[in-house]
Amino acid sequence: MLFNSLEYLWFFPTVVIIYYSLPSHKRWVLLLLASYFFYMSWKVEYIFLIIFSTLVDYFLALKIHQAKNSTQRKFFLVFSLVSNLGLLAAFKYANFISENINQFLTFTNTDKHLPYLDILLPVGISFYTFQTLSYTIDVYRGKIPPENNIGRFALYVTYFPQLVAGPIERAKSFIPELKKKVTFNYVNVVSGLRRILWGLFKKVVVADRVSAIVNHVYATSDDQNGLTLLLATYLFAFQIYCDFSGYSDIAIGSSRILGINLMENFKAPYFSKSISEFWSRWHISLSSWFKDYVYISLGGNRVKVSRMIVNILIVFLVSGFWHGANWTFIAWGLIHGLLLISEYFLKLDSRGDLNFTPSQKLIRIIVSFNLVTLAWIFFRADSINHAFSMFNNILTLDNWNFDINNFSLAIGGIPLVTWPKLILSFAFIVIMLLIEYGIYFNNFRKAFFALNSIIRWGTYYAVIICIILFGNHGNVEFIYFQF
């Protein structure tokens, strides 16, 4: 079930109405059932994977807590890591690993080859696996006690607003959210609705509109000139941001209506003044996960500089690999790792109380955004060769020319992308950026609430009309579902 589908339009209000009709202590049962239903609407069988993950981590966390010595505790932790990562490896990385082994075997003229497994990637597996892992590790580290109620723990793993694409919550903050007594709060509910509306706008009006262009240009990249490829890459930067942050907005908004707070996942990342700042604003729940459970475990930055560089590279290579079983994602992670290391040596990190002049800020934002965007080429390309051929085409300046027909196929002689459509898409991107800038840097929220209700309602209606009239309503999946 997609957040931007009509099914969710019926499902969610039904859950909310029943939720607030039930006594507070029984609501978790409804949320658990609703979450299982939500996941099973995609593929029924894969619910067993979640149940397996839930049971393994529930019991192992209890065992870790009850263990008498550190060897036993370690054993149970390793058992949990192997089970969870094994599941991930089997369903997500098995074919990638066997493909690469097969290539090596071919290279060494060996006759035997590993088989290709015809399995469908369970949606959201990387998200809920990391969420359950963080729980077990936190119990092991003594940061949290294990959850005794298996039902509540199952809800922690499967909570539908964030099940398939995050934010990846931590047990320390999220289990108490699931346990707290929720009463209907007008401000929270309205704020949740507003957040859903904004998320839908970003997903349906911005991301899905440009996805048609990006998909076409990338699929025909060999026949495209450099300018078209470059423009499509910039459009992809906004597509992936609006797609993923739109999902997070809807997840956070839906959860807020239910009185359960989820962590923020994005904070206007394209206004970052450095790559390190970008990673504190982009997919925050994942980057903080890697920081807490991988980077710090490796020693973080309290080690020699050479070791710290290795740590950064490990984190970003693993982060890239987390995104998908393809060398392109690993290359993307590597690029970001190298950019961060360069920033460290050049002392370009913009976090902290640094006073930049407006022009310095602007230059930093432009440079950071362009670096991030060019790195997206690896993320979006089908293979490393594809990415290099894209760069090659982009850098061949001789054949740069602008032709709107390059952006789409013509169906029945009518081009799908016309000037008004392209201009409208750019206009929506600009509107989105201005609003996000206002929200995160200029106290836009306060100013908005100071407006009279007619203007506020008018704005909501305008956004709804934009979603209906200008959105792409082809039930386009969220990009991060595949990760």
């Binding site: 009509l6 607030y20 209907f184 007008y186 509910v189 309205v190 169906i411 029945g412 008004p420 309602w457 909501y460 209606y461 709804i464 209906i468 009239l469 959105g471 309503h473």
Partner: protein, 317 residues
Amino acid sequence: MKLFIIRFGIFCILLLIGLSLFSTFLKTGQKNYDSTGCYKLKLMLDEKSLDPEIIVFGSSVAEGSIIPKVLSEKTGKTSFNAALSGRRIIDWNSVAFSFLDYTKNNKIIILDIFPNAFNETNQLYFPHEFYPYLQNKFVKRALSPISETYNKMTSLPFYYLTQLNTTIILNSIVGFRDLLFNFNSKIPDGYMGYNSITSTYEKSNLSNLIKPEISDRSIELYEDIFSAAAEKNIRVVLVGTPIFIEGRRFYQNIDSIYNWGKRWDSIYTNVDFVNFLNDKAIILNKNYFSNNTHLNDSGAMELSKKLGIVLTQTREE
């Protein structure tokens, strides 16, 4: 919670009113937009005022090939060409079933058979012409099975708004303006639905062979029309339309399409098949065609005269 329910209720009601007003504006404008497609749909799906003794249904091939005036002259019966450009039976059947539902005068229905007549498609040509009539039971029945989009359009309020584009909005503005201010219609007085094509033959540079499909749904719909017509004692005349001889090589399996005409002729007592596919007087004459499958006005005159004569004959003759 009470405050929220009240405010949210008011918000939704206002939204509903706004969308309904916008929807009414678009539908009214679209219904009155000055195109032959909109006009024909309005006559048969909305006003239900058109009730000739001879009516033609089909695609642009029939719309530009059969001249009702000639049929009327030959048969002495009132005629109208209700064929719709760009359409196949999977969507124009709504018009035929609506007509069959209300007609009292009709004696003969003429349907075209041409190479792509039985093609299945999930992307309709100008679907917005149907927007004002999405709740019409015949339109609903015709559009729903075509694709999920059309199913949603006919079953969910306002869903069609998600399919809007600037062309549709501009059409609606023009249609609404025409309705309010009675602008001169482009539809001439005494319009009988025939779309005259005056251009001379234009050679198509087809690089691939066209292999027409035969979809089960199309066959089923033709047969449903025969049965519905039989209940009202209406004769159905299937017209196998001519193809210019030089263009014929681009089409594969034409016989398998046209043979359905023969088959139905032998099965249904109220169905006659008149085949012009091999009519040498037409298919060898380039001056009769505007392209491989569409006749121009000279060709239409020739075909209509011949068809008119057939219509005066009984089945046995």
